[in-house]
Symmetry: C2
Subunit: 732 residues, 2 copies
């Protein structure tokens, strides 16, 4: 077996800042396997030996063969996302990438030939292009409606080109170098500094394309701009982004959806740096931040899909191109067998030496389960700007996961939902986050971009499971106001029978502070963990407090009888997302009545709550009002409302229970096992009591103060319960 | 290997009307394997050898072991469907069944012992019982709220008891015989003639229980009553049911959901008859009607789920207990390898010699694909009461299927939807049938029974994809008026590039006749077949005609701009189901505009139509109005409306197209490829023209007259198109 580790392949490789290899019949710069001379036959043999890689070769072959049959088609750019020319140019970069790598793997000349023809067509077209006709954003591209897609084209195509560049005539190479790649690299760097010098994922894509092009073309200056910014000062560029865009825990500030997206250019460029300038030890920078970010990305998922925080398309998960690359690159550098189980789940890899290593070791049975676990992921470059709390009841796809969003704003794609939560169980998203209002690449839906309802609904606070004050969103939905702020995490306990995450938010509304504690509680009388939610708010003046609960499922039982709008359905409000909510009914349930039970897949969920203030109201609604273009999904929601008070406490418990089996015709425990919910307070300490039908009591003491030494007391159950630190259990 | 065929096992078995075997230490009467002396050890060895059977043994073992640990619990009946005592008595019959069969298969005495203890507990309880306290129907049971469930208890328990009966002391056997089974058989036959003598599935369950009990207890008279009715005249009972409840094509008159349900007692009793009285040749009766009915049940499914016609719970499909039994019994008698592929899909079988045969042959790789195909299934005992037309584009789970409901009413569970349609594609139900408004066994939803909305919505015509006149349902939703009527099937073509089903309905409304032709059309410019729908109605007086289209998916594009009810949502009507529809918008689109496109899973569907009359209206709505208990699923629908006319023609084409892939970020062809839809008529002949964006024309001539010799002419495309018979293609 050929050794694929970079040490062997790159023995004698260039050191830090050493001049790049000269340019006569250049060998590929972007893949160690392809860079090793005479390795094609071996690679071809290996490629056939390991099913995962062989399948990938076959998939690429089918794609390229189809493209060859279709012929070279490089249309003049015209359409926006999802449109004809958009999709053709996307198809072309895939073809250039696949054909280039396939030509190396299989040794078949025709693949290189097709990539060459395509690139020569681009060499004719590209110099004629100006601003894209469908460009609407500040940064229109040339091939695509936005610069970002041009960058993606470059990242993909340069890899394919690099693989065949050495096989071309000098004339062809010069033509493609100059008319395509140098021009495009120039457009995406010097000509668009307002993008390239940003600390933002759009810039990451640009500098990855430019940097890899620099390595492939042996252009030292181009590489330096990519790594250090246009002025090569280090104030922008790849290295600076590595320091600023990820927290010390590998959390990307825009959230999981964009973490995935940004990872690809990060890891591809890092790999190119590592191969061509191993002396930079890029994968060791910031204690291995990139490898950490890859593992964190995997942790940010449930049942294969990413937590849909901020602007997020819910289809995205571990089985995406970005994660195929990230897993292969990380595995080749760490040999962490847990990554193989992710590759196995993907049933995909990439056409590089890294992908081959994954396929080989997976085939050898080396995979181990990925250690999904509870964790607190700090946000911000220094880890001091809030964070994302993840509580897991176990590592499997069917276990319960509670996500609490205590992060900072996360730039322009951030939603206004401090201290919000998402809850998963039984493989399903039970308490939901809407994600983005967008139909990715569906041209008939606003050109495939973010829809107006992304702003009017998806980003607004009421679209999330967190507190809304006076029917306005956090920070008035103003990003400039939101950017400086972040929650203060309090306690975090990730293991044991009592798992806890808590945080406090000040400044989302003037004069308002709210503190939320979420607990995942195991108890022998309950088959599944209970979720206790304690949200306390105080304001300098009386206000209206709403706590929405977006749930998935079909209501099977209400503990109270609402006044229903059965024959005409009004809208809940006029702005801040409230205009999109139909009101089905309203009620003022007593504490005994305050319960909603629903069925999702084959499990029931009972949500029981205590009225947050005297005369507190429960509103039952559905999304879809003021939506003449049918841009929103229609989903149920509950809103607890407390009006005209300065202080309010929202106390609730979510109880998963029972089983519905329609095929085998049985239903187990469709009713809640909880008889009563109670809360007692003293100062900043609370005791929440969950009493079961069998008369047992789950008793949870909670304090807002994370100090483990501080003592708290609450009179309850006929005695004084005293504990130290943020929580204690006094079950009876 | 032991030979499992009944010939060997039953050599010398009783002939027609011969006295049953005497009762000293009786051998089991209900299973050939169990009936063969000394076979237990062999059975145990075989059971381990074949994975499907071994898994079934293990599953039963787990169930019974859990039951043994829980102890004997035979509560006094109290609750309705889904409640505690209901579920306990269900669990008990499963335990008696499994424990009895397991004791034979494994030879382990403890299983027989647990079944004995349970049955002795029933022997103490049962004689004390009267009418069930939660009984609401005409026919309350004793153990359960309805007699039907008592029958199901008997069908299951008698099989388990039969397996252990020979091992009991005379005293125990006498106690259980007399206090449980004879009393229960008497209750379900002589004491409830109003059920037992019916020609209906509730009666089938009763007579199967009574008949099998008769064989197990060697009670000739009990068997005769089950087979011939209480007076043994043959006017009721099993044999009469076989003649009346299935059509000559094996279609059960209540529809697929109840076909599944009714099959189980039919095939179990037939098997008992076959084993104990092979001379009756029960499986050959009516040209093998029972075996035909089993194959037909499989044909009545898509992607594993039954067509949800009439009252139907959508969770039900091929992987249900009833089909496990049916497939095993049919396979043991026919060795049809296509049935093995169904067993493979189920990954289940039954604990009998038949199940063992399935497991063995599946293990030997004998399975062949089930031949799913287009077919016209006639309805009615003589096949002359309409029928169900099924058009399939191919045999796989992803192929398209068009179901046209041209059947008779189908008794009390029938819906009022003559000539309605359901369309499947890409593994999904695209044009939907609501099925039943019922949460099976969910006690908090109306006791788990049919909800009020089953009558007010699910059964009404507007809840289906067919014509509604003057906002009233077919036959005024009066079963007595509906029972005598049925549609007249016209043409049926199940193969080729033009597949057609058509039928005519008279009498659903006074003075109204409507004729509908559905066509599934293949054409080289379309990747998937097009569905053309031509519905022509004429009435003796002006009327309002509505054609609802219930679809699954999210609207991605409208060809017209509706007037939207964005800030307050009115209800469509006051009765006949219209009170359950919210109105989102209304429009009067021109023929050029009349198109709605939606996305379902990863495929787009464009529905294009021609206004059915001058000023025809399109209504966009959603279900869920007048539903204070949240009993209805919220689903979108379209309604085409033509008002104040005597004649109207609804012409439409449904076009599946393109692909959405959110994970890999591409979208193919989100727009329709159809430029224009046109219809030209002359007499009872029509030409429907579908013109593509590329200028090609799919031209379909249709006639209402199925006579293949009759000639039709329509002037179209600048010439006269002439053809013979119900259809012709004139593509250009």
């Amino acid at each position: 077996m050929m050794d694929l580790s970079r040490r062997t392949v790159l023995a004698g490789g260039a050191g830090l800042m050493a001049p790049l290899v000269a340019d006569a019949q250049p060998r590929p710069a972007l893949d160690p396997v392809l860079m090793a001379p005479g390795s094609a036959a071996q690679l071809a043999a290996d490629g056939r030996r390991y099913p995962l890689f062989a399948a990938e070769v076959e998939r690429a072959r089918r794609q390229v063969e189809t493209a060859i049959r279709a012929g070279v088609n490089v249309p003049v750019p015209k359409d926006s996302g999802g449109g004809y020319t958009h999709e053709e140019h996307k198809r072309n970069y895939r073809t250039i990438y696949n054909a280039g790598l396939l030509s190396r793997i299989t040794g078949e000349r025709r693949y290189a030939e097709h990539a060459r023809e395509l690139l020569l067509a681009y060499a004719r077209l590209y110099p004629t292009l100006g601003r894209h006709p469908a460009g609407r954003e500040e940064l229109p591209g040339r091939l695509f409606w936005q610069t970002l897609n041009d960058s993606v084209w470059l990242v993909n195509s340069i890899q394919g080109y690099d693989a065949i560049r050495g096989q071309l005539t000098d004339a062809d190479r010069r033509t493609i170098d100059e008319q395509v790649f140098r021009r495009m690299a120039s457009f995406l760097s010097d000509e668009t500094p307002q993008n390239f010098n940003l600390i933002h994922n759009h810039a990451t894509w640009a500098l990855a394309g430019v940097g890899m092009t620099g390595y492939a073309l042996r252009d030292r200056l181009m590489v330096e701009k990519a790594l250090q910014g246009l002025d090569r000062s280090g104030n922008a560029g790849f290295l600076r982004q590595l320091d600023l865009l990820f927290s010390p825990d590998g959390y990307y500030e825009e959230g999981p959806y964009y973490q995935r997206y940004a990872l690809m250019p990060f890891v591809l460029l890092a790999r190119a740096v590592d191969l061509n300038e191993p002396g930079r030890r890029i994968f060791e920078r910031r204690e291995g931040i990139l490898l950490k970010a890859i593992r964190t990305a995997v942790q940010l998922s449930y049942n294969g899909y990413f937590f849909p925080l901020n602007d997020a398309i819910k289809d995205k998960g571990l089985d995406t191109e970005e994660l195929h690359h990230a897993v292969a690159i990380a595995y080749a550098r760490t040999r962490d067998p847990a990554l193989l189980s992710i590759a196995n789940r993907q049933q995909r890899t990439v056409l590089t030496g890294d992908g081959l290593a994954v396929a080989k070791d997976l085939n050898a049975g080396l995979a181990r389960p990925f250690p999904f676990a509870s964790m607190m992921l700090r946000d911000g470059p220094d880890g001091d700007r809030g964070g994302l709390a993840i509580l897991r009841s176990g590592p499997s796809d069917a276990d319960a996961v509670l996500v609490m969003k205590n992060t900072a704003q996360g730039q322009g794609h951030g939603h206004f939902d401090k201290l919000s939560l998402v809850f998963y169980d039984n493989g399903e998203e039970v308490l939901t986050d809407y994600g983005a209002a967008r139909f990715l690449n569906v041209e008939t839906k606003g050109g495939g971009g973010y829809l107006p309802e992304n702003t009017s609904w998806a980003k607004q606070t009421v679209a999330h499971n967190t507190l809304v004050v006076d029917e306005t969103s956090h920070f008035g939905a103003d990003r400039a106001k939101a950017d400086p702020a972040h929650p203060k995490p309090l306690a975090f306990v990730g293991a044991g029978a009592t798992r806890i995450a808590s945080a406090r938010m000040r400044g989302a509304y003037e004069g308002v502070t709210f503190t939320r504690t979420l607990a995942m509680l195991a108890h022998p009388e309950f088959e599944h963990p209970l979720i206790v939610d304690l949200l306390k708010v105080s304001s300098s003046r009386p206000a209206q407090y709403d706590l929405p609960l977006h749930f998935a499922g079909h209501i099977t039982d209400l503990g109270f009888k609402p006044t229903s709008n059965i024959a005409e359905r009004p809208v809940l409000g006029r702005r801040a997302g409230y205009q999109h909510v139909w009101v089905d009914g309203r009620a003022r349930p007593t504490p005994e009545q305050a319960r909603v039970t629903w069925l999702l897949k084959n499990r029931f969920y009972s949500y029981r709550f205590l009225p947050a203030a005297p005369d507190a109201e429960m509103i039952l609604g559905e999304t879809g009002a003021n939506d003449p273009s049918f841009n929103l999904r229609r989903q149920p929601l509950l809103i607890q409302r407390a009006s005209g008070v300065r202080d309010a406490v929202f106390t609730s418990v979510l109880e998963p229970h029972g089983e519905y089996n329609g095929a085998a015709e049985y239903t187990l425990q469709p009713r809640s096992r909880i008889a009563r919910l109670e809360r007692l307070s003293q100062g900043d300490a609370d005791v929440v009591i969950v009493e079961t039908l069998g008369g047992r009591r789950l008793v949870l003491g909670l304090s807002d103060d994370p100090d483990p030494a501080k003592s708290h007391s609450v009179a309850a159950l006929g005695r004084t319960l005293t504990w130290k630190g943020p929580w204690a259990r006094f079950d009876q």
